[in-house]
Symmetry: C2
Subunit: 323 residues, 2 copies
């Protein structure tokens, strides 16, 4: 089954790409990723996050139009952690992306986590790898909201855009929520809004409080609905990408992303096994002794009591009974 799928994937059939992503989403994609991983690492991967209502889909659509005009092929991954829908389902304002549906060089995919051991971030990372291996020049990952899972998802992108909305009042909240640290480019969208300059000043003030070594986040203004400012936004992405490569920072970044992905997969499996062992534990253990027994099944020794669990527990009981 994988052989046929791989053959179609290599032949450039977009339906094979869609099927491969579905397989990864449901936790059966390990073999595919293994086979295709050596083809990855060539795409420019860009994450886009920001609060609801900021116009992320409009921005995504405008970026797609801009890079398509340069002849680049694009993959778009729309991540909605709260959505049970998948398989290309388009929700709410993401319908804006529909203008690119007829373009065979744009591949659009909505994602939700399901059976993937690495959770939503793991499924997304697999989808990025597949689009990259498929040969897309640019992979855009758009995330809804600004919670922890969105920050995590930003880890899979080389360049992260944080879009903020003037006059929304929540910019400070957003910046406090750990978003300041992940932004490579700040995008003030709806730049025709009377509060747009105010928001730019706020972002600059926030940035002054941080000590940047290396890349200093760029700040650009856009009016995505009219396509205004997208050129400057893309210039910032290209400059960040160039900096990543020239400084060598891309190696560190990809190493961290890789470690995160492996951690999610391995810990996911270990957690399932831990459950099995816990279900079989004897009734008369204390939690630390029980944890040591669980850990011993994984070959991890040396809990807090170094003399071995059984002996230690017996000794402890004797002490207590002698009260």
């Amino acid at each position: 089954m994988n052989d046929d799928l791989l053959a179609a994937f290599r032949a450039g059939d977009p339906r094979a790409l869609a099927r491969a992503i579905s397989r990864c989403e449901s936790g059966r994609g390990a073999e595919l990723i293994r086979a295709l991983y050596p083809l990855t690492g060539r795409a420019l991967t860009v994450g886009l996050t920001g609060p609801p209502g900021v116009g992320k889909s409009t921005l995504t659509s405008a970026i797609v139009a801009y890079v398509r005009a340069q002849g680049k092929t694009v993959g778009v991954i729309s991540v909605d952690p709260s959505s049970p829908f998948s398989h290309g389902a388009l929700l709410g304002d993401r319908i804006r992306l529909a203008e690119h549906f007829v373009d065979p060089d744009v591949f659009i995919r909505s994602m939700a986590s399901r059976g993937h051991l690495g959770g939503l971030a793991g499924a997304t990372a697999d989808a990025v790898s597949l689009m990259d291996a498929f040969g897309k020049d640019i992979v855009l990952i758009e995330t809804v909201g600004v919670g922890q899972s969105e920050i995590e998802i930003a880890e899979v992108a080389d360049t992260t855009l944080v879009a903020l909305q003037p006059g929304s009042g929540d910019s400070v909240q957003v910046l406090k929520a750990g978003i300041l640290e992940i932004a490579d480019v700040f995008v003030v969208n709806k730049s025709d809004h009377p509060m747009a300059l105010q928001l730019q000043r706020e972002i600059r003030s926030m940035m002054e409080m941080l000590d940047f070594s290396g890349w200093v986040p760029a700040l650009v203004s856009t009016q995505a609905l009219a396509g205004t400012g997208i050129d400057k936004l893309w210039d910032a992405v290209v400059r960040h990408d160039a900096w990543l490569r020239e400084s060598g920072a891309i190696r560190e970044k990809r190493r961290a992303a890789f470690a995160h992905r492996v951690r999610q997969l391995a810990v996911g499996t270990l957690e399932r096994r831990v459950e099995d062992v816990i279900a079989d534990l004897a009734d008369d253990l204390d939690p630390y002794a029980a944890s040591d027994i669980v850990l011993e099944t994984f070959g991890v020794h040396g809990g807090a009591i170094a003399t071995g669990n059984t002996r230690a527990r017996t000794a402890v009981r004797a002490t207590v009974k002698g009260l």
Copy 2:
């Protein structure tokens, strides 16, 4: 060092209890818990949660006064996940508890998670075990807020009280956030508020949408500042405790709490080890092969490719190179 501490603990010295909790909080309490665990399981443990401003500290103080009047000894654990303070630091309105400071049969402790492998829930569970082993008849765990960590902390209590505030408008939000399922007793505090009856109706409507098998959550009204309704609140706690014991549900509940505690400890340790292995991984692996190598160091075999990593990787490379 532990011998002296254990001796003082057994002699009923509250300073030994305080030191034992501190040791657990900083992740060095395994031996103490092991020694004292056989003495646990006798206290009535009560969790109290609810949104900020509902009057949790006033309720706690009123409950303490009520059960003290019945001659019971009490331990109080104030959990503030967002607070870096600990060691009995009292924050904001928790100062109300100060009226009980001079009572030697009331032990009050504020907690924050630090080095504990099991996180905040693990440190709290240790503190409950210690107060229980120390001989406190009742252990009250008061949590600030209604987030995930608070729901988790409610797992350590036999009986969970959910306090809600009339007219706060967030009752529905609170009930949606998974709180409905953990409540054994709903407490409508500030029952003199004009919206108090409305809130009671809302809670009853919510409860009608759920299918309760066994215990149906009690609903009581209090005016904690005046001490009104605390008798009915405590009656509900005692009824729930009696139901737990008569139905045998307490065994299932404590088994689940124990499993949760072991899981937190074991997975915490495994996660640290996973980091060490990841740091040593070769550069040229795909994430699934890397995860398999990590898992093999824990004796977990059988990733998606069953033929062994090295051979599988070689085969995969050969396939890809032949594209």
